[in-house]
């Protein structure tokens, strides 16, 4: 029988687990040849929180996301997912961590030889082998409905618009019910209406699934709408981090210039 102290310890552990950041990036550095892209980045994201990473083009925002999901290896520093350093995990062990993550690529990166439905079903076919075909079809239909792409099952990625491709990419990213969602420029290249729709969609998904999210974007309006916190990157460093209101009150010249130009 569990004693009161055991129960208290378990409760403490559970509280600690809840309060520990799901994603923790420490002193992360990455260079490509002589080009230093990230220069000692520190960031954390908690459960149910959305962090927007803003910055000029070429400041390493997308590289940061690729490092977090293990598509790139850091030169130094660590990326911890649930307190496990993933930087040097073998491919198959990294796969176990990635099952908890969903990634929306900047250009959606849909499999161009598969239909919309097959794209969304792809992770399910590989990781939910116990699912019957009809269960999988139902799940795909539900995901496409959630992202507003109901009825597009049979279309090819080349037959739909960029905004639609991003919606399908988002549905694919959500297929395994991830606990961490990484979005690379979800509104880039979209008209204001489509951008707004994607923002609403991300907000809705946040409310319903309580994921930890990192959104890389140029779009200050989008960041303000969907993020709890904003980190501003410049020349491989985090210039400032906080709520949008904190950024507005910042005296840092780069922050002021960025907000003015945005």
């Amino acid at each position: 029988m569990a004693t009161a102290s055991d129960m208290a310890t378990k409760q403490e552990d559970a509280t600690e687990e809840r309060s520990a950041p799901i994603v923790a990036v420490k002193e992360l550095r990455k260079s490509f040849g002589n080009l230093r892209v990230l220069n000692g980045i520190n960031l954390t994201v908690n459960r149910g929180e959305t962090l927007a990473v803003l910055g000029r083009s070429g400041t390493g925002k997308s590289v940061l996301l690729r490092l977090i999901i293990g598509l790139e290896t850091p030169d130094s520093g660590s990326v911890s997912i649930y307190e496990q350093d993933i930087a040097r995990l073998a491919l198959d062990r990294m796969g176990e961590v990635r099952k908890k993550m969903g990634f929306l690529f900047q250009h959606a990166a849909l499999y161009d030889s598969l239909t919309v439905a097959e794209n969304v079903a792809f992770p399910l076919e590989h990781h939910r082998r116990e699912m019957s075909r009809s269960e999988r079809n139902d799940r795909v239909a539900q995901l496409l409905f959630e992202v507003g792409m109901k009825g597009s099952n049979g279309k090819m990625p080349s037959d739909i618009s960029g905004g639609m491709q991003k919606r399908v990419g988002l549905a694919r990213a959500l297929a395994l019910q991830p606990e961490i969602l990484l979005l690379d420029e979800p509104t880039a290249g979209l008209d204001p209406i489509s951008s707004g729709e994607i923002d609403d969609l991300v907000l809705k998904l946040q409310r319903e699934h309580q994921m930890a999210s990192i959104v890389v974007t140029h779009d200050l309006h989008s960041a303000k709408t969907i993020a709890n916190r904003i980190a501003l990157l410049d020349q491989g460093n985090v210039v400032t981090e906080g709520r949008f209101e904190d950024l507005q009150e910042s005296n840092i010249a780069f922050v002021k210039e960025f907000l003015k130009q945005s």
Partner: protein
């Protein structure tokens, strides 16, 4: 040598010798860079092969993708292979008939055709045709997936791309090459016999009996199954070139070209080694 001649030579040599000393570091640099790229390529291929091998022997196995690739490599190459085999059969038949007639050895025609097609031309032609069709296809497909981040998307979905994309394609090439070789051989033998029959009637049964008279399995099986090695070479090089591509549409084109050129070259080089190996092991 006259005084003028020697002056003339000196006049020519002087600037050249100056250039030569300046060119030396450039040439040495180019050789060093070429050697570096050579070792880098082979090193990369070695690491890639190890990753593919590890992925191929550990579950989960990608049976569905393997079957799709068997169809892609095997069934879809079959018409081309049969056609190429047929052409080779006719050419060997015409050449053999002419040469054997000159030496009064026309009775050797069936055996010459059978041995030439099965031991030499069938395997090499199959290897080269598959290098062209499948090597280019795999190289371009994977390169295109790489530059459009589809391979990254597979990896981000917690799926091992070495297992899903490379291991299945390489295995399909290994399994299909010997079968395609048999098809090329059969086609070549049939058309070779047919071409002969048009000139000098010979029943197919007679042709087969005479051609295979005294033949052992050792004479035909090793040359046919050596093409599994060609399959390994074609699949491995095409997947490697495709999955390491950089640089947009130009990179895709380069990957497809390199896949064909390198796999064809290595198939021919492997043939030299394999023929010697077969002669030693299966005398």
């Amino acid at each position: 040598m006259s005084r003028y001649e020697s002056t003339e030579i000196a006049a020519i040599k002087l600037p050249l010798s100056g250039q030569g000393s300046a060119l030396l570091p450039t040439v040495a640099g180019s050789v060093a860079s070429l050697a570096e790229r050579f070792f880098e390529w082979f090193g990369g291929l070695g690491i890639f092969s190890w990753q593919v091998l590890k992925a191929a022997v550990t579950p989960p196995y990608e049976w569905r993708e393997l079957i799709r690739q068997l169809d892609e490599v095997g069934s879809k190459s079959l018409p081309l292979i049969v056609l190429a085999g047929a052409a080779i059969g006719v050419v060997i038949s015409m050449e053999a008939r002419y040469s054997l007639s000159r030496f009064g050895a026309k009775s050797m025609f069936p055996a010459t055709l059978v041995y030439s097609v099965i031991q030499v031309m069938g395997p090499v032609i199959t290897g080269l045709i598959v290098s062209g069709r499948v090597g280019a296809g795999i190289g371009a497909e994977l390169a295109s997936m790489k530059v459009t981040e589809q391979i990254d998307a597979i990896e981000a979905s917690a799926i091992n791309p070495y297992r899903l994309l490379a291991a299945t394609r390489i295995l399909a090439c290994i399994l299909m090459l010997p079968l395609l070789t048999i098809a090329a051989d059969a086609s070549g033998l049939f058309t070779g016999w047919f071409a002969q029959t048009l000139v000098e009637p010979l029943s197919f049964r007679q042709f087969i009996e005479s051609g295979f008279h005294g033949a052992t399995f050792n004479a035909f099986l090793p040359p046919t199954f050596k093409t599994a090695v060609y399959g390994l070479i074609i699949g491995l090089i095409a997947c490697f070139q495709g999955m390491r591509t950089r640089g947009g549409a130009e990179g895709v084109g380069r990957a497809a070209t390199n896949s064909v050129v390198l796999s064809s070259l290595f198939v021919i080089l492997a043939d030299v080694v394999l023929v010697k190996f077969i002669l030693v092991v299966f005398p």
